[in-house]
């Protein structure tokens, strides 16, 4: 069974936020306005945060999305099992099961679970531009990054229809695909020959807030000497 993981090289990341745009477009996230930003209700599953990293004079921009923890604090507190760790290590969120209690948003130390305060709206001209593989979440549920799990489902189905196994290049999340600096590498951490497994075991690798014991599967690479 695969264990999907993501490596982000902070040495390569330019902070361009192409990943933020790609994620919003891929996952049918509504636009955020200055007004929604003012009240802290921006709808983004991935965003840049200022991080104080050892050996750096100032804060670094760190792309932060759901860390897909192996010991996720959010799933323990969910009263309806709407969020859980799936067998492939993805922290899933089942929207029709979510009652919007926001226990998980409070339990998440990374603050990457987003509550949907309003019914999502898009300009009329974008009515045909939604991703049909992703639902449009209603008001009142908690949303999150799923490593573009819908892409895995589609990729696996295509591979099966073609009578072959899933290849590493078949499944990458939208943020990884778009990254112009190639700062993101995605793959199966349980495969010792994968790029992610090699990078995750390297000397520059660290996890964000790893002292909490959440065991994230998003691994950052420290900026090199």
């Amino acid at each position: 069974m695969a264990r999907w993981g993501l490596v982000i090289d902070l040495d390569r990341c330019t902070g361009c936020q192409a990943c933020v745009v790609a994620c919003k477009h891929e996952n049918n996230l509504p636009f955020s306005t200055p007004e929604t930003a003012d009240v802290g209700r921006m709808m983004t599953w991935i965003g840049l945060v200022n991080a104080e990293l050892p050996g750096r004079p100032g804060p670094s921009a760190l792309p932060l999305m759901c860390q897909q923890c192996d010991r996720p604090p959010c799933t323990d507190v969910c009263p309806t099992s709407a969020t859980y760790l799936n067998p492939e290590g993805i922290v899933a969120q089942i929207y029709p099961r979510c009652i919007g209690c926001r226990y998980c948003t409070n339990a998440c130390p990374y603050a990457v679970k987003i509550f949907n305060w309003t019914t999502p709206e898009w300009p009329e001209s974008m009515a045909e531009m939604h991703n049909p593989d992703v639902s449009q979440r209603p008001k009142g549920v908690v949303e999150k990054c799923t490593f573009c799990h819908h892409r895995l489902i589609t990729a696996r189905e295509k591979a099966r229809a073609a009578g072959r196994d899933l290849a590493p290049e078949d499944y990458v999340p939208a943020c990884v695909q778009i990254c112009p600096a190639e700062a993101m590498v995605f793959g199966d951490l349980s495969d010792p020959h994968s790029d992610v497994a090699a990078l995750a075991g390297g000397p520059r690798a660290f996890r964000w807030m790893e002292e909490l014991g959440t065991q994230p599967k998003v691994i950052y690479l420290r900026e090199g000497e």
Binding site: Y84, N86, P87, I90, A92, I94, Y95, P96, R97, D133, V134, S135, Q136, T146, H149, H150, I153, E157, R160, A161
Partner: protein, 161 residues
């Protein structure tokens, strides 16, 4: 008078619930399509996505004209046939719906799962009139009982998006 109040209220409530619990009236499809007559060609000839795509698809006139050069004798008037063959879309009414949060793919079920169409849609080969409502009631239990029986994935995120 008061002693009748409770039974009357109960009767009214039961009547209202009864009316709302009844299935909705069947939809009237635009063409009196006879599935039984077409059964020999197989489902996929007209519902082309059923084997190769996520959505099975409902055929339009270009599918009909691959076999029918002229208006069929029954089921559709000459005028309606001229309309649809000149580009007017056939306004089929959808009878089977899945909620937006369910990710269903026909290909996954008919191909990898080797399911017959009838397992979810009922035996359409016996129907002489187009369906006015879903032939089989599909709920999550329908899916899960089959997934359990066949050893398919029971991971919620595998089907819910």
């Amino acid at each position: 008078m008061q002693r009748y109040a409770f039974p009357v209220i109960v009767a009214v409530v039961v009547a209202v619930v009864w009316v709302f619990a009844l299935p909705p009236a069947p939809l009237a499809q635009p063409i009196a399509f006879n599935h039984a007559k077409h059964a020999t060609v197989g489902c996929v000839l007209c519902h082309q996505g059923a084997a190769a795509g996520a959505r099975a698809g409902i055929p339009q006139a270009d599918t009909c004209t691959r076999c029918h050069a002229t208006a069929p004798g029954r089921g559709i008037s000459e005028a309606a046939w001229t309309d649809i063959t000149s580009g007017k879309p056939i306004a089929w009414l959808r009878v089977t719906r899945l909620p937006d949060h369910v990710a269903f793919s026909h290909r996954r079920h008919t191909g990898a799962g080797q399911l017959a169409c009838a397992s979810c849609h009922g035996d359409m080969t016996q129907r002489t009139a187009p369906p006015g409502r879903a032939p089989v009631r599909l709920v999550m239990d329908t899916c899960l009982s089959c997934h359990k029986r066949e050893g398919a994935s029971e991971d919620c995120a595998g089907c819910h998006r």
